[in-house]
Symmetry: C2
Subunit: 432 residues, 2 copies
């Protein structure tokens, strides 16, 4: 005989509607697998009379979230509002009232995850957030369970579909950034105000979550180094292709092996044979290197109503099993350590550097000298005349500390042969 | 304060050694994450004095498995012997003695999984086998948890590294099957007697496990249709490439939507843009299509000491958390249904068909007539003279029932223009 578990949902937008639809459509298999009937008791919305994409009995709706949070019958609160205000306050109240919590709110977890998980731990409550990263792709649960025995050495992800779509369009259709962005907006893949995606904030939220689990440490998303994709030029993508690379907005976290970690989001040159290089369009993927498992990658749709609902319902089922077994809180927060994030100047990487120079005797030597004097050694250089007396030069460095590289760039920028510093990017190696 | 959980390990071969090494090397993080010290109390081996790749105190070793199975102090039995005899009997005894069980034994699960899981369920014991499919890749746990809310429509996997290595070498280095096999044997990727891999048995075991979880039904591995890779000719791989395909040994299970399922292992033409097409060498990947999550793929090293140990230890940690919370058996066997496997003659697929014909008037029409009379329509045909009066013809059919296709082949084989039926393969579509 199945138990009855009562669910209250905050928010009936894109993810909320998908969640209601999934709970209804697959109710049979959910009950078979968990031994529980999941009953939606109440859904809190801002506007009760707004038309919905999902058919919901009006009596289920309330515009007062506290009817859910303060209802002693409700076992699980599912927060699908997004953003901080009022989600933060509501989730805190749910935990104070001893509700199990499932959320897909990346910003909330990135900014207040430690506080909320500690709160959940105090009362041995479940606090689950699989849907906050990578839409429907199982990634949080596998890191906390199947891969938990590994010392993770690196996590790298394509975790923002909007920017990946734009970069894919630039590469495949030879569009420039603005044209690709406009198309993404037309297709609904980018918002009217795309700043949150384009500038890498969304990816940084997700990296804060991934890296805190991977390295068992709280990670302050404000401390994550961040560069958006607006600086990527079509010419860089073409040069990348010629050199055997693609340009992807990567969220990268690595252990430095000395107790500190790197955490950064930026457009990156990635070898074209890397598994992440093939992830195109709105798909997401997360790549993990662990000391025993080696390389693993998880791939799928990183957003959208139905995929995210899949993750949310997976969490609800996990909580239902815990409620049935009296084992809520069985996988508590794993941030047992405190790792500092290395300042970006101190990371070690290869670099791509593109510039326009005046074609003059000793031009090449004068630039090479700057690199040499700054302690940066060069793996490859190529040049191409672009008009009378002007040369486009592309340099790929060996691995070097970022401060040495940027010092070189700063010196090169004031050389008399330098017409323009066109662009530079970090280059990821095939081996982590 | 951590609890102490006592582990007995059966077998100290490749996976056993990796497991011992991992439990030792990452003991700190395992204890932090589970709240349990995992103590290896005993390891059963066949030959106590055999040299080992891992340093183990001789007092831990026994050549009597029952010292583990019958020890009331031991909480978890980890079976890493492989094969059926004596693993089957030993695991049964462990369950009778109320031990939690972790195993990486694909053949055991494929052949006796239902019996063993029912036995575990009776006593609310954990019975875990993440390492039985895809080495270290999390796949069983995600299907049972994060993806559990989905109605799965298809599972397709590259789950045998040996055959994938051989096919990759044939494609990349233009080697024929025998040369690629010999190289795989030299490098230790194929066994001296490679039958189990080459003929698809290993992949069929894994498909039995994957499909039973995906479709919540017991799947008899003996009922899985199976073709090995020995029939793949270098010429087929070249033709595939020209047509935009790769040839992979796929383990495929699909829901027919009417309560029956398909389950089959065979070399398959796969569009080169399919995510599985890029999986090369000894890597494995499993691709799942669910009604809400859409497409997801899991990728990593499908075998080996350390990756498989990662999965085994992930399971041990899961069991440890259940022991600490009194919640063992919280994810029981999910085979609630009984789905028949469609006979291979009844499946619907596209087909690739290559033959040598005598160049004669009306030759093409006589072959096309056979297809037409059998109800098979043709998507594409190409021909190429290979010597005076002889033509190589390649046909790609539209989707058709397999019995109609094989009837065509049988009729074509006795046409007077037919010199030789060279080969044929099923073709997988991009959309599932």
């Amino acid at each position: 005989v199945s138990s009855e578990i009562k669910l209250g949902i905050l928010g009936l937008g894109v993810v909320g509607s998908g969640t209601v639809e999934l709970l209804r459509q697959n109710a049979d298999i959910i009950e078979q697998k968990t031994g529980a009937k999941i009953i939606i008791k109440k859904i809190a919305v801002r506007h009760i009379d707004k038309p919905r994409s999902v058919n919901v009995d009006r009596s289920l709706l309330t515009d007062n979230s506290y009817e859910i949070l303060d209802d002693p019958e409700i076992d699980i609160v599912c927060e699908l509002i997004g953003g901080i205000d009022p989600a933060h306050e509501l989730v805190l109240r749910a935990l104070e009232n001893k509700k199990q919590v499932v959320t897909a709110n990346k910003e909330l977890i990135a900014k207040h995850g430690t506080e909320l998980m500690n709160k959940a731990n105090e009362s041995k409550l479940d606090f689950q957030f699989e849907g906050s990263v990578g839409g429907g792709i199982p990634i949080i649960q596998p890191m906390k369970n199947a891969l938990a025995g590994n010392q993770v050495q690196a996590v790298m992800g394509i975790v923002n579909g909007t920017t990946n779509y734009i970069l894919s369009q630039m590469a495949d259709e030879n569009k420039d950034f603005n044209a690709a962005l406009a198309e993404a907006q037309e297709l609904g893949y980018a918002e009217a105000n795309p700043t949150n995606d384009i500038d890498g904030h969304d990816a940084a939220y997700k990296l804060a979550i991934l890296s805190s689990i991977a390295f068992t440490t709280p990670v302050d998303e404000a401390a994550i180094y961040r560069e958006g994709i607006a600086k990527v030029q079509l010419r860089d993508i073409q040069v990348a292709r010629d050199l055997g690379y693609v340009i992807k907005l990567l969220a990268i976290a690595k252990s430095n092996g000395n107790g500190s970690i790197q955490a950064r989001v930026h457009p990156t040159f990635l070898p074209k044979h890397h598994p992440l290089a093939a992830i195109s369009g709105v798909y997401n993927a997360v790549y993990i290197h662990g000391d025993f498992v080696g390389d693993v990658m998880f791939y799928g749709q990183g957003a959208g109503s139905k995929p995210t609902a899949s993750a949310v319902v997976g969490d609800i089922m996990d909580v239902a099993r815990n409620l049935n077994n009296g084992s809520t809180g069985r996988v508590p927060c794993t941030c047992h350590e405190l790792h500092a994030i290395t300042p970006i100047e101190k990371i070690v990487s290869k670099y791509y550097f593109r510039m326009i120079a005046t074609d003059r005797p000793k031009m090449l030597a004068s630039i090479a000298n700057v690199f040499g004097n700054c302690g940066v050694s060069i793996e490859a250089v190529q040049h191409r005349p672009i008009s009378r007396g002007r040369i486009e030069m592309v340099w790929i460095t060996h691995k070097t500390e970022e401060s040495k590289f940027t010092r070189s760039v700063s010196h090169i920028s004031i050389l008399s042969v330098t017409e323009k510093i066109a662009n530079w990017f970090r280059v990821e190696e095939e081996d982590i």
